[in-house]
Every structure is written in C-alpha cells, then in structure tokens.
Symmetry: C2
Subunit: 224 residues, 2 copies
C-alpha cells in the first residue's frame, strides 16, 4: 500500500508503474458494489493508499483511469484470442474450445469482466464508446478467423461480420452471467445453455443465402 | 407513510400518486448521465420538486424506487407482448413483427429501456436480481408462445426455453444498442443486423435434435 516514498533499490519508473497498478487495482476492488461513475477519486486513492497528487501524475481524472481499465481488459482478451487461435483443436471443436477459453478467462479476470459488463451500457459515455469500439475490433478479428471454416469462407465479409457479432454478443452475455453466478451449478447451467445456443446458431450456417434479408420478403415495418 | 396533506380539488390518493409519478420520472430523467447507484435521494427529490419527507411516504430508499422502475418497465413490455400476441400477423412474419414491436417500444419508453440496459449488470444487486427475474419470466412466456410454430412444437420444453433465451438476449441487446444510437442510419443498421441474426438462428431450428449437446461429442473442457 505504500508508494510515494522512493526506494533506492527500485527505479523511479518501476515505482511509478507500481502506483499506477495500485490505482487500477483499487478501482477494480471498489466495483463489485458500485458503478464506475459512483466511485470518487478520493475513494480510489484511499483504497490504493496513495495521495490524490500521486493520482494526477497518472491520470487526469477517474474517467481516464476507466479508459485504462478498458484497455487492460481487452488487452488480456486479445492475448487469449491469439493463444486460442494458435491451438489446432480450435478448428476441430470450435464451440467447446471457445466456451472453455472464455470461462477460464472470466475466472482469471473476474474484476475486469465485471467492469466491462457493467460499463458497456453504464453511466459514462466515453467508457461506453471505448468498450463498443473494442468489441467491434474483437468481432472484426473473429470474422477474419471464421473464414477458415469452409461453410463460411464463401460468405460475403459483411455477412461473416454479422455472424461474428452474434457469436461475440453470445460470449459477452455468457461472461456477464458467469460474473454474477456464485455457484458451480449455476455456472454449469449457463455454460450448458450457451453451448446449445451456439450449436443452434451454427446449424443454420450452411443454409444461409448471402443477403438473405427477410426485409425483402415483404417487410412493412415503419419503425418511427 | 400516508400523505396527510389536503388538496380540496384533488383526492388525497390522486395527489399521492402524482408525487410518486414525479419521483419515478425524476429518477429516469437523471439516468442518461448517471448509473442508478450514483444518484442520491436528494437529487431525485430536487428534480421532482418534492421534499425528502414526501419521498419517504412512497419509498424506503432509492433502491425501492429502482425496483418500482423495474416493475414499470416490464409492465409495459408485458403489455406490448400481449398486444403482439393478439396480432395474427405475428405468426406469419414473426421476425419482422417482433423487431418492429421492440423498436416502437424503445422509442416510446427510451428512459425505461436505458434503465434496464444499464442496471441489468449494474452496481445494485437487488436491481440486477429483479431484472434477471423479469427477463426470465419474459423468456418463459415467449417459450410458451413459440410452441405454436410447427417446427418448435415437438421440442422438449427445456430446449424451447433455451431458444427463447437466445431470442430474448438478442432482443435485449438490440434494445440496448438502439437506446445508445442517435442517428436514424445507426438505427437502421442495428435493426438490419439483428434481423439477419434472428433469421440465421431460425434457419437451424428444424435441424435441431433434442438434447443435441456438443458436450456429448467428446467435450474435455475443465472450466475450473
């Protein structure tokens, strides 16, 4: 919990990074019972054991700290994706492997995942936007990965992207539900249901006709 | 906790209801830029133009007011579902009609829908639980409705429920995205993508084998 004191054995930049990490950890620790916009700078510095002055050496305000958390959370997600992609089992057994990867990730980074689920539609516009952008990137990369599957390789990129969005949404909602669950039975139930849903989604893949938009089939909705 | 104040022209219960409504409206009005747990009782009463004492005649605390908002939001959703069910066009053109219904609902009740999207995984446990329960009820009712479709009528109820959960999740995520969007083009794009996703999901329906769980196909995930 220390910080502002200079240890001779540690370099200044090391110690600066430790303070930054302490601030990020403190914010995550306060999140289970709060939304991000209800946490004050002073609560974060108190939890981290550093002074408000030290805070300002790292972030302009709590919003900027929130953006750093978004980056951290998606940084580890991207790493996870890269590892999963390198695993040859992924193409053989994509649904189970993807689910497994997300479950492990939620266990290891529960606080980050809670933060993402909470702030995706939360009270801070800049965080909502940053999370949306990151999820879009995630889905774009997934759409590229998906083109290795024969049934999907002939799809127009826009349709593959639509499919990737659906998978991403399903995975995000699984992660958000897992964070909320306290029992292993609850977790098994969530995983079982999501697995069935992903399987159902893939059953339609080779029947998809590009641009098969039911709008063309006489849609008369006027949304306004 | 009663309103013992006198309006001669209005009945006591009418005026009490008006205060309650003013408090609910005030909380909704504060939400676009705040999470629910960052709004104080005093901010709500100031916005509503009533005294904190008047607040306590209606709610024990802000959390209880939040629960009343959950009830209001899902009350209107249920009404919408009932109306949609009574419309014979629903079975002919279920995807477009359902989407249209949700879009109209989001336009009419933007603040309520924002509240649900925000607090579904928000900082207040009781609100998260109340919203989860309501969404479960919504999905249960949908599962019953879905049994009129020939392809789904033979499914075991648990599988129909899994399917209803997927539709519900897709609709909730559409509503949450619509609330965030500011342009008609953005709205069209969201609706178009969700329509394609729902179509893709339904393409697999008649290929589904009950209990078709990929777990049986040699799943070796160990989630822990």
């Amino acid at each position: 919990m220390t910080s502002r004191h200079r240890s001779r054995s540690r370099s200044r930049s090391e110690s600066k990074e430790l303070t930054r990490q302490a601030l990020l950890r403190a914010a995550l620790k306060l999140l289970p019972r709060n939304s991000f916009d209800s946490i004050s700078l002073r609560e974060i510095t108190r939890e981290a054991g550093v002074s408000p002055t030290a805070f300002y050496r790292h972030f302009d305000d709590t919003e900027e700290l929130g953006l750093a958390l978004v980056e951290e959370a998606f940084g580890s997600l991207r790493q996870m994706m890269r590892d999963a992609r390198a695993d040859p089992a992924m193409t053989r057994d994509a649904i189970n492997r993807s689910i497994e990867t997300v479950v492990v990730h939620v266990h290891r980074h529960t606080d980050h995942m809670r933060f993402i689920a909470r702030e995706r539609y939360g009270g801070v516009r800049r965080l909502r936007q940053a999370i949306r952008r990151e999820l879009e990137l995630f889905s774009e990369e997934l759409a590229i990965d998906l083109s290795v599957f024969p049934a999907l390789s002939a799809w127009p990129p826009a349709d593959r992207r639509m499919f990737a969005d659906l998978i991403t949404d399903t995975m995000v909602s699984m992660a958000a539900e897992l964070v909320e669950t306290r029992s292993p039975e609850g977790e098994d139930e969530i995983v079982r249901r999501k697995r069935q849903q992903l399987l159902l989604i893939t059953l339609g893949v080779d029947r998809w006709s590009p641009h098969a938009d039911p709008e063309d089939a006489g849609h008369d909705a006027d949304a306004s």
